[in-house]
């Protein structure tokens, strides 16, 4: 798919969101509420524990929380699109086009996220920057950018792979719920990995989830120096590559399995 066509798909999806999202003010409030709850929570916890916990300073955990929240909100994706189109058979229309199904879905996903970035992520970041003393060293910027792109791709690939299950199962909602639970718990969007007990950390290190929000957030906030970030970015890239291969294998199998509902 050419970049021009890719961005056309992005544009259509972005505009679709702007047309329908009258409720986005509510969603901004919802985002602020999350930031407010978790920053207050950590402030209280840190004050009670004497100013340091899990290797974070109070200022450090506030920065981490805001950054991770903003990434989480900006990386909003609609993971019901593919299962919905398989369920009602309109996936047939996607397949008569001379474009890659994966790339088309990525482009649509980027458009969707771009809306949530501009309409929710950035306003929340701006207001938080005024309210809190956010720490994000400039020299981490290049590594942060690369890590963010990879974490976006990782989350997309995870969603896409789970979505492909809809070619086998009529009902994929349980899988999506399980994915939500794992991401909320293990991706670092709410609670950084450092707060988990020691015995569970090696297990989490073997899973892809912490590379979705935790890895970019610790790189952006400078908790990890840019030199150390390279290793983390390499692992992120490996996970993305792994999911690309997995989803390609699944896609081949799914094509054989596809049933178009409704004739």
């Amino acid at each position: 798919m050419s970049p021009a066509l890719f961005f056309k798909f992005v544009g259509v999806s972005f505009r679709k969101e702007t047309a329908y999202r009258f409720d986005y003010l509510v969603m901004i409030l919802n985002g602020f509420l999350y930031v407010f709850i978790f920053t207050s929570l950590w402030k209280t916890v840190f004050a009670a524990s004497g100013g340091g916990f899990g290797g974070f300073t109070t200022a450090g955990i506030i920065s981490y929380t805001v950054v991770a929240m903003v990434i989480r909100i900006s990386f909003s994706m609609d993971d019901t699109i593919i299962p919905g189109r398989v369920r009602d058979g309109s996936v047939a229309v996607d397949l008569i086009r001379p474009v890659s199904f994966q790339m088309m879905n990525l482009a649509q996903c980027v458009g969707y996220s771009a809306f949530h970035l501009t309409a929710r992520g950035l306003p929340i970041l701006l207001v938080s920057a005024l309210m809190f003393d956010l720490h994000a060293p400039l020299r981490s910027l290049p590594a942060s950018a690369v890590s963010l792109v990879l974490s976006y791709l990782l989350l997309f690939m995870l969603n896409f792979t789970v979505s492909l299950l809809s070619f086998w199962f009529v009902e994929v909602f349980p899988f999506i719920l399980l994915k939500y639970a794992l991401i909320n718990l293990l991706a670092g969007g709410l609670v950084p990995m450092d707060f988990f007990p020691d015995f569970i950390r090696p297990v989490m290190a073997l899973l892809p989830f912490q590379h979705i929000f935790y890895s970019p957030a610790i790189i952006i906030t400078g908790r990890v120096a840019p030199e150390q970030a390279v290793g983390i970015i390499a692992v992120q890239a490996l996970w993305v590559a792994g999911f690309v291969v997995l989803s390609a294998v699944m896609w081949r199998a799914a094509s054989n399995k596809l049933v178009i509902q409704g004739g």
Binding site: S2, A4, L5, K8, V12, R15, K16, A19, G89, S90, A92, V93, L95, I96, R97, P98, V99, S100, S255, N256, L258, V259, I260, G262, G263
Partner: protein, 343 residues
């Protein structure tokens, strides 16, 4: 027998089969619980050994009752479904192995779904298609001009797709399937749900595209008028198998030799005892409806004989394609069932 228009073969299907596995639902509450533990699977063969070849410029009707395998065949030829066995080729491309390449060469309309962007104005949907098919600006402008003239799309261009009526949407969908000048056009129930006038417009358009652009068209439909008016060739399916493949016109002579003669006499109809080849279907005042088994041109003789009576008006009616199709289905219902039980 396959009709030959002399052109190169553009679509080829060889012994295509497509099986779907279906879980048999348990009967009643107990059955539903039982089905949780032992799933009885059925294999449904939607397409069961279909072979045909279609030449460039053909206009082929692909008909059959619901579940006969029409749409499944179309979905194999468009690269959406992978056949369980057999081979298909469109423009020399195996559609399910090289879906994207095939998709660039064909146009597809699914009557029940739109390929347009629901939220965009029609014009922008076409701009998207222009980018997707990488159509050059000049070609695009020229084709859009032609399509909107023939389909009268001008007033629709700035309307969001979701606000179009079914007939308007179908026009736009047809144009969308043709804007990149595909060599082959697949139409899956394009006239479903349309009123008579809209159907007539769309038929005229398809005839025109087939003639002027040389587009090969494969049309599935339930409307036998579509077939009778458009398709020179007819492929008929029943439970996944082809039961007729030939000229639409020949279908009549091949399957139905029965003709209906309507005669109106001056005064009371005479006795037709001297003509045992005729049987009276109905009699109403001076009018008689007669059935005649036409075994090779005998109809002229019969008319001649009838004319020797005091006849006011006479007309011969042929059965519609629809009634022929119905009678063929009835004849072929002795085929083995297409559902097999495995376990």
């Amino acid at each position: 027998m396959t009709p030959d228009n002399g052109g190169p073969t553009i679509i080829e299907a060889v012994n295509l089969k497509k099986e779907f596995t279906v879980n048999e639902p348990g009967k009643g509450a107990f059955g539903a619980v039982k089905a949780l533990f032992s799933v009885k699977k059925m294999i449904v063969r939607a397409v069961d050994g279909v072979s045909f070849s279609i030449k460039q410029g053909d206009f082929v009707g692909y008909v059959g009752e619901n579940g006969a395998g029409k749409s499944t065949t179309i979905k194999i030829l468009t690269g959406i479904l992978v056949p369980s066995s057999g081979v298909a080729k469109v423009n020399g491309v195996v559609p399910y192995e090289d879906r994207k390449k095939n998709a660039g060469n064909i146009g597809v309309v699914f009557g029940q779904r739109t390929q347009l962007w629901w939220d965009l104005p029609v014009r922008e949907s076409f701009e998207m298609l222009k980018a997707i098919y990488r159509i050059k600006q000049n070609d695009f402008a020229e084709m859009m001009k032609k399509l909107s003239a023939v389909l009268d799309m001008g007033p629709l261009m700035d309307v969001p797709v979701r606000k179009l009526s079914l007939g308007q949407r179908m026009k736009c969908d047809l144009a969308a399937a043709l804007v990149h000048r595909p060599g082959v056009l697949f139409l899956d129930e394009p006239t479903i749900g349309l009123d008579v006038l809209a159907k007539e417009n769309i038929r005229a358009f398809l005839r025109e595209m087939n003639k002027t652009e040389g587009t090969t068209i494969i049309l599935t439909t339930h409307d036998m008028n579509d077939i009778e008016q458009l398709c020179e060739r007819l492929i008929m399916l029943d439970r996944g198998r082809i039961i007729y493949d030939g000229l639409t016109a020949e279908l009549k002579s091949k399957f139905v030799r029965e003709k209906l003669i309507e005669v109106e006499f001056h005064g009371t109809p005479p006795s037709l005892l001297g003509m045992p080849e005729l049987s009276v279907v109905e009699e109403k005042g001076p009018k008689l409806w007669l059935k005649f088994q036409d075994e090779g041109g005998g109809i002229a003789k019969v008319i001649g004989k009838l004319a020797s009576f005091d006849v006011k008006d006479i007309s011969v009616r042929e059965p519609s394609v629809e009634s022929i199709v119905m009678s063929i289905y009835e004849k072929t219902r002795t085929l083995p069932p297409y559902v097999e039980e495995t376990k």
